[in-house]
Amino acid sequence: MGHDRVLASLNLFAVLQNLEELVKLDPQAAALCADWNVSMSFSVLNGPAAWIEFGNGSCTVKKGWDLKADIALKFVSCRHLNLMFESKRPPIIARGITRLPFLLSKFPQLTKRLEYYLKPDEKLLETDELFRRMNTILTLNTAAFAAVELASYDPVCQHIASAIPQGTVLLKILPDGPAVTLFIKKDGWQAQKGDIENPSAKMLLKDMDIAGAFLNQKLDIFCAIASGDVAISGTVPMLDNLGLILDRIPLYLA
């Protein structure tokens, strides 16, 4: 798979799903979409597709097609979709042209808010605890969902994934979460927000700061494990190989 195909999957299924959490946890984002009642689909010709639904102050992001979406955005290629994510090229509006004001002004405000957390200002990361917390939560989710896409489409990750035993991996920030769970099966991987009992392997991150440093590639993970900032147990080869996959996220989502 080419870089654009992998990136398109990451944009749709690892980045966009963060809107769910953003709307839940960020008051500014929640206020923005409090009265939205709209669904949108994103689909690439012969490529990946996702849809988003806003209603009752919440947001749901799903894989696949929604033929009845109020707004249907089409892309002629993965590259086209990726350029839209960089605000460099508009989508083709196949349905919902009457919602143009929403598309041009309201929705971008929400995605800007997402970008604010996911492409963080280094100073804010250092000084603002709430900002750091949001960045960490969203980056944790991005990592889990990105791992699924990379294991499916990135050639190097496909190779790594082929060596990972089947089972479940829990990544959890202590003391009470958030957490993500990866279900690793031969026929495909799945990510899920939240905890699981009796995983095959687990990685427990001591607090938000340690998790933030780990997810932003600023932690010597071997030191962190030795010092107890990160606790691993269970089927360690799952974690070793998952780590290699997570380390490839910045090649796409720098």
Binding site: V156, C157, H159, I160, A163, G167, N198, P199, S200, A201, D220, I221, F222, C223, I225, A226, S227, G228, A231, I232, S233, G234, T235, V236, P237, L244, I245, D247, R248
Partner: protein
Amino acid sequence: MTAYSHEKSRALFERAAKVIPCGIYGHFSPAPLIPPSDYPFYAESGAGSRFVDVDGNSFIDYMCAYGPMVLGYAHKKVDAAAAKEHKKGSCLSAPAPVMVELAEYLVDLVFGMDWAFFAKNGNDVTTYAVMVARAATGRKKVVAIKGGYHGVAPWTQGLGHHGVLEEDCGHILRIAWNDFDAFASLVEKHPGQIAAFIASPYHHPVYADNQYPAPGYWQKVQKLCNQKGIVLIVDDIRCGFRLNMAGSHVFFGFEPDLVCFCKAIANGYPISALMGKGALLTDAAKVFYTGSYWFSSAPMAAALATLAELKRINGPELMLAFGEKLCKGLAETAKSHGYDLKVSGAPSMPYLRITDDPSQMLHQKWCGLCTSMGAYFTSHHNWFVSTAHNETDLTDTLKIADRAFEMLKKEKR
């Protein structure tokens, strides 16, 4: 039995983390020691089968420095031989006569091998072996086993590991252990392109049960290699001199072209060796390969003394016998508490695993508990025994294991 504490180890590690990548890197990293809080990070001294950490805790050592310690720490004969050589000048502008003595000794000792080349680490000689095979055959591809470990050079690591290029492992073809048909298929698929087949004498991966060769496996591999001009390399770095003094290929009844030794060869002194058949001597000579300290004479003297002593006391037999008693005792202790402790691999370097929990968390806890009471067990890697392990060690170890199982059971309740 009270659990050890590790204040000095942790304080040192804090300092190390600031100035050394990983704090402690490589196979000595505490990361796979689960939980790390149960393990010492720094050792102060060792004698016989035991070592003492910087906090003064004493451990019956079942890792033996991950293999090099084979006669016991601070072994008098070996240390005296090394010290005598060192005093003469261990790193001079020309090799010492002991290099020739050691090569001759090894050629006499190891079955079927006609020459020896010395380096420092296992990785040095596995890489050299592959280079010799490629030089001899003019071919690129090397067949290795999935999960097999041959060092840290890029060709030995998998795609996706940091610092490893696709090109580094592009000619390494991995197949499952004991799958002769897979090897035969590769030979057919890549006619005239396979330079070498490399594997350890039996399969000893980490985090998984170890596996002996299936009946006839090595003999079939050898036959096909001989027929097709493929160099058969045995990585005897972990097993060497723990199964048979003449090489582990004698233990399993086959004849390789090249054999890699390290670990047990010099009881902890830094030296490794590649040995080969006479037919490959000229090719080996053509490959330029060297290192600043590869001619140090003290480790060579240590190797001579170690091998002579191992031979005198029949070290492999002693270790296999002790390992049998240890594994049997531990399995019985486990059973008495309602647990199943599975033993695989050679008794002189066994891999143990509590099967009651497939995630291995239970096994990790048990190994951690045993270590925190003085029996140094790891949960991810095969263990090693030495000729210094004795009946007192066995009794003490079984007591510790018993107590650890008891604690596991209590925790479960």
